[in-house]
Point group: C2
Chain length 234, copies 2
DNA sequence: TGTACATCAGTGAACGCGCGTTCACTGATGTAC
DNA sequence: TGTACATCAGTGAACGCGCGTTCACTGATGTAC
């Protein structure tokens, strides 16, 4: 309740626009997102939306940031509510939070993690922050787990030199302490997590292949936890 | 060179239509795929394409099948050319073939494995066959590797009962002999493989995060091979 | 081999629709004195 | 507290564009006898 009535009305309208925009995302997809349709649902003439949003692309950016933030909020909230001692459990909770959000908001998930929208390029300055919240949560979790001695990196495929170099840079940039193997495996786990979720959201498993996709996902998460050597507090 | 000249012209035109369609997929994306634009590039009036394709959706189906088949062909060809004895190597070759194709044909990859096209539902009778060639190649490869004693399933997370039940059904359906753990892990490896490729094709790693994405992918593939316990011929 | 008919590819006009964006405007709200 | 002015939300018309699909048509190609 700050500012003039006009200010508050503006904030309200901006929220309405993103809400309606997300509805349209769900029914028609990002590529068909249209300012005119949003204006219609907003009960306003099409040119009026230009008072709030410079162009269709700016609306897309708005929805992108809104989606990233909603996902980021939910993931952080879920992890914060989980066991503070067992980092394996925290990882499982994080993964499930991403999946739950993705299944509830498939259209926004598709915008963030699916095919790029043709002709649209996200402005990095605005989207990088919100867009990296999940991976930052994952990195933080792994770092704490490593520090707590809850990670025993499995042996196996050696990290190629160029990957080791990249990983070294990342370690320094984020102030991490885990070994190359862990960081490299963590990147795989991150990509694999979204791979599993995308398969489910984008319907890549056939219609009748799995009777209990949730159990399948939980199992996949558990194997991914094994892959990074996350033993937990045992 | 079969049939009348008219028949041959028709086959040629059908090929032109799918070729042009795929070009448009690359420049404008699936959601913006338009029969009129295809007609323009074909050098023909818009209504003429209806002699070849019943509707826009049918063109999408054509492109879907064309893409699945091109990917299937390349994957099968690559695997066939690989070492006949070492199934770990065959797996790596398979994974690389998928990635190579995906990077060369990002738009078609997006159509097959990215966000669903709003308002379009693929006709299962036509697409299921071509659409399952990669997973069938993977399943066949794992089955042979298991039979050849080149798989040592790692211990770790237990397979939940409902997943075990699904996996049992799949085992019988495809006449497989591997244990539950292997089949369940194989499903993860499948989803994870596409997760890694999607991250790369859809630009989810930042612009400057990795200097050598190919090496990163090779490493990820190797870890996935470890995950299913694919030791190879040693 | 020649002719009559059927099939088919492609035309051009039309239908009704939606889109992004600009612009001059009206009238309400906010601000400075 | 009242008034003059500036700011802003929303209007309605317009621009030029592209879309899917239908339909009656022309002219070429193929087929049956």
């Amino acid at each position: 309740m700050t500012g003039t009535p006009r200010d508050r009305a503006r904030v309200q309208t901006m929220q309405d626009i993103t809400r309606i925009g997300r509805q349209h995302l769900a029914t028609d997809g990002a590529a068909a997102l249209s300012l005119r349709a949003v204006a219609r649902d907003l009960g306003v003439v099409s040119s009026a939306v230009y008072r709030y949003v410079k162009s269709r692309d700016e609306l897309l950016t708005l929805l992108l940031i809104d989606g990233y933030d909603e996902l980021g909020d939910e993931v952080e909230r879920a992890v914060a509510a989980a066991s503070a001692e067992d980092f394996r459990i925290r990882f499982l909770v994080l993964g499930r939070a991403v999946r739950t959000w993705a299944l509830r908001e498939p259209a926004t998930y598709a915008l963030l993690f699916g095919s790029p929208v043709p002709g649209y390029q996200a402005p990095g300055e605005q989207t990088t922050g919100p867009g990296t919240r999940v991976i930052r949560a994952l990195i933080g979790l792994w770092e704490q787990a490593w520090a707590a001695g809850q990670i025993v990196v499995p042996g196996g495929a050696p990290v190629p030199p160029t990957v080791a170099a990249d990983v070294t840079r990342i370690r320094e940039e984020f102030g991490l302490s885990g070994p190359d193997d862990l960081l490299a495996r963590a990147i795989l786990a991150w990509a694999a997590l979204f791979g599993c979720i995308s398969f489910e959201v984008f319907d890549q498993y056939g219609p009748d292949t799995f009777s209990d996709v949730e159990a399948l996902f939980d199992y996949q998460l558990a194997v991914l936890a094994d892959t990074v050597g996350l033993v937990g507090a045992g």
